[in-house]
């Protein structure tokens, strides 16, 4: 049986620079996996390739049985819309839209907007009191919570988080990680999270360490 997410011998080159050197890696459904490593180790590149934001120079990637390398531009966009939720270090919220409108924007690009559902999604991340606030009126932690609501609104099969707490203090980091933990344990979300912070990585069930474009360690978390 193939894993939920599987990448095989993935090589990624940017001109003369090589970001990934034949990485193979698999994630089971419902797993929370942290990818750690120094800057330039290739962890974000791998995350982008898994999420279909980038394509490998060679090798193949599959998710839920779908060979992502075989998808054209439009089917790939559709696949991303329906299967992948992203949370980045920067919130990338639209500054002139309110929290609920930012979430509805993700609905709009997926299918149709539904304000009630967007409100519920924000309530799930504890933001029901900040529905009408714009990003500039929210703290960093609150912005990240809106991002998580936005990432989850279209019921993705996997949540990809690239340094989701990189901009946050410890208190807010713990809050966000607690939220991810709840999603993982209660709703069985598959999460792949890139971080350089050992504390953050410790919240995941599995920690994969990358170095210079290769996976050098893959072990369960001791938390």
């Amino acid at each position: 049986m193939t894993a939920f997410i599987e990448i095989k011998d993935v090589l990624k080159e940017y001109g003369t620079a090589t970001a990934l050197r034949g990485v193979s890696f698999a994630v089971e459904r419902g797993q929370w996996c942290a990818v750690v490593g120094a800057s330039g180790s290739g962890k974000s590149t791998m995350l982008n390739i898994i999420g279909g934001l980038d394509s490998p120079s060679s090798g193949c990637v599959s998710m839920d049985g779908v060979d992502l390398c075989a998808l054209g531009e439009d089917p790939m966009a559709r696949f991303r819309r329906e299967n992948v939720g992203y949370v980045f270090q920067q919130s990338h919220l639209v500054p002139y839209l309110t929290s609920v409108e930012n979430v509805m924007l993700a609905q709009y690009f997926h299918s149709l907007t539904d304000e009630d559902e967007a409100r519920e999604a924000l309530a799930r991340v504890g933001m029901d009191h900040r529905l009408g606030h714009r990003p500039s009126q929210l703290s960093g932690g609150e912005q990240q919570r809106v991002c998580i609501a936005r990432a989850l609104i279209n019921s993705p099969k996997v949540l990809l988080a690239d340094e989701p707490t990189g901009n946050l203090d410890r208190e807010n980091t713990t809050l966000i990680l607690g939220l991810l933990k709840r999603l993982h344990t209660e709703e069985h979300f598959t999460i792949i999270m890139v971080t350089h912070d050992a504390y953050v990585a410790g919240w995941a069930g599995r920690v994969v360490t990358m170095e210079d474009g290769l996976i050098v360690k893959d072990e369960p978390s001791d938390r």
Partner: protein, 458 residues
């Protein structure tokens, strides 16, 4: 190039294009629904229609024949239109859902029905061109055929593969809308958006209803009630006037399409059970909505075309002013009324309405002369068998209109007796004049004066 041959070529182009387009869309449609074998029956249908082309050589190419073909074209259009409407309101979004033994027959019948009036109509038209030019008909038929094949060949060359995405835009109902749309666009001989094929049917129906209603009212109020003066009749006549019937045509043709658009685009989308996540439900609704939008394109195009066509024939504007010429007095000589064909400031063959007055035993009888679209002169009394004769007819566009009841009479039907048509007169037309016997005038005038309904007026 002889302009008449060019006209034959244009007819050929139009028919060739229509044939090729229908073939291409039907082929793509049957392919898309996994029934490519049905195309054989399409070809049989075309063969049947082509057989009628041969038969059309034995048809007279007079006005009555052309009128019959025009009406048939209108009825066929209407049949396809009604089929489309019935399918739209009863089987939204479905097409060829069941394998039925009747489908091949239906395809054959529909194809034959669709093309027959066009082929026969084009044949009559081409023959008429030949007659007008005084040349051999074969030249014109060759010209028309050459272009039928040329256009069909080019379209087929460009359309080697079936259209993509046919299922997204066309169900059976939408296919019928497309066929009706194409017929609406390409029927008749005047080209784009000719609405006359509708009015030829509609006018027949309206005139029938009008005559029945008009005669019944007068019968019930014998003699003509003083209340039924011109003003009242004009009010009633409004419902049979050009603008009103144009609105009626608009309502009949565009109404069902707009209704369908409204229902389709605003109707609820029921969510099937088992869709737990909001995203799944939204996606389902979005896909259904997009599907409905695509399936509405044809109905929208049809409604738009009907609007354009309606507006282009003046449907949105007030009725044209009636042209009411003063009668020219004439004196009979030796029991014959003679009207010069032309003279200073007038020419009876110029298509305008002319009136002449003659004294008949102390009464003034007005005669009406006008050239019909077929080039023949219609000579009638300026009155019908129903209405009072005092006001006669005026002219508005391609109609003469009864001033009393405002019934529009198509000019091409002048010379036919009955109903609201002016009473026709036997006339002899020489090189320089129109001759009518006073006996004929007196005999026909009796129809006007002896009408029981007019006792109260006279």
């Amino acid at each position: 190039m002889n302009p008449l041959i060019a006209e034959a070529a244009i007819i050929g182009c139009k028919e060739g294009l229509k044939l090729a387009l229908v073939w291409y869309v039907c082929r793509s449609f049957f392919d898309a629904y996994g029934r490519p074998g049905l195309m054989r029956f399409f070809y049989f249908g075309v063969a049947v229609a082509s057989g009628l082309f041969v038969l059309s050589f034995f048809m007279p190419h007079d006005m009555a024949a052309r009128d019959t073909v025009a009406r048939l074209t209108g009825y066929v259009f209407f049949l396809f239109f009604m089929a489309a409407v019935a399918l739209m309101y009863n089987r939204p979004g479905k097409a060829l859902s069941g394998v039925s033994g009747l489908e091949p027959l239906a395809v054959l019948f529909a194809t034959a029905l669709y093309f027959s009036p066009d082929i026969v109509g084009a044949s009559l038209f081409v023959r008429e061109l030949a007659v007008l030019s005084g040349q051999v008909a074969g030249i014109y038929f060759s010209g028309a055929f050459a272009f039928v094949f040329l256009i069909a060949f080019f379209v087929l060359l460009l359309a080697k593969r079936p259209l993509k995405g046919v299922r997204r835009f066309l169900g059976l109902a939408e296919l019928f809308v497309f066929l009706a749309l194409l017929k609406f666009l390409g029927s008749g001989t005047k080209g784009f958006g000719e609405i006359s094929l509708v009015s030829s049917v509609q006018q027949g129906l309206v005139k029938f209803v009008h005559d029945a209603a008009h005669q019944s009212l007068l019968f019930l109020m014998v003699p003509d009630h003083p209340l039924l003066v011109t003003t009242t009749w004009n009010f009633i006549g409004f419902f049979f006037s050009g603008p009103f019937t144009a609105f009626l045509a608009l309502l009949i043709l565009a109404g069902p399409m707009l209704g369908y658009l409204y229902v389709t685009l605003t109707g609820d989308i029921p969510i099937p059970e088992g869709m737990d996540s909001g995203a799944e439900r939204r996606m389902y609704r979005a896909e259904k909505r997009a599907f409905r939008r695509r399936r509405s394109v044809m109905a929208g195009a049809f409604a738009l075309l009907v609007f354009i066509s309606w507006y282009s024939v003046g449907g949105g504007r007030a009725g044209a002013t009636l042209e009411l010429p003063e009668p020219r007095p004439i004196v009979p000589e030796a029991g014959v009324v003679s009207m010069d064909l032309s003279g200073p400031g007038f020419d009876l063959m110029d298509g305008r309405l002319y009136k002449f007055s003659v004294n008949l035993e102390g009464e003034t009888v007005v005669l009406l002369v006008i050239r019909r679209p077929d080039g023949k002169l219609a000579v009638t009394i300026d009155a019908c068998e129903i209405c009072p004769p005092d006001e006669g007819y005026g002219r508005s566009a391609e109609y003469v209109v009864c001033v009393y009841c405002m019934t529009p009479i198509p000019i091409e039907t002048l010379g036919m007796p009955g109903g609201c048509n002016p009473i026709p007169l036997e006339a002899e037309i020489t090189d320089s004049s129109v001759l009518v016997l006073m006996e004929e005038i007196a005999a026909k005038w009796r129809f006007v004066t002896s009408s029981k309904s007019k006792e109260g007026i006279r």
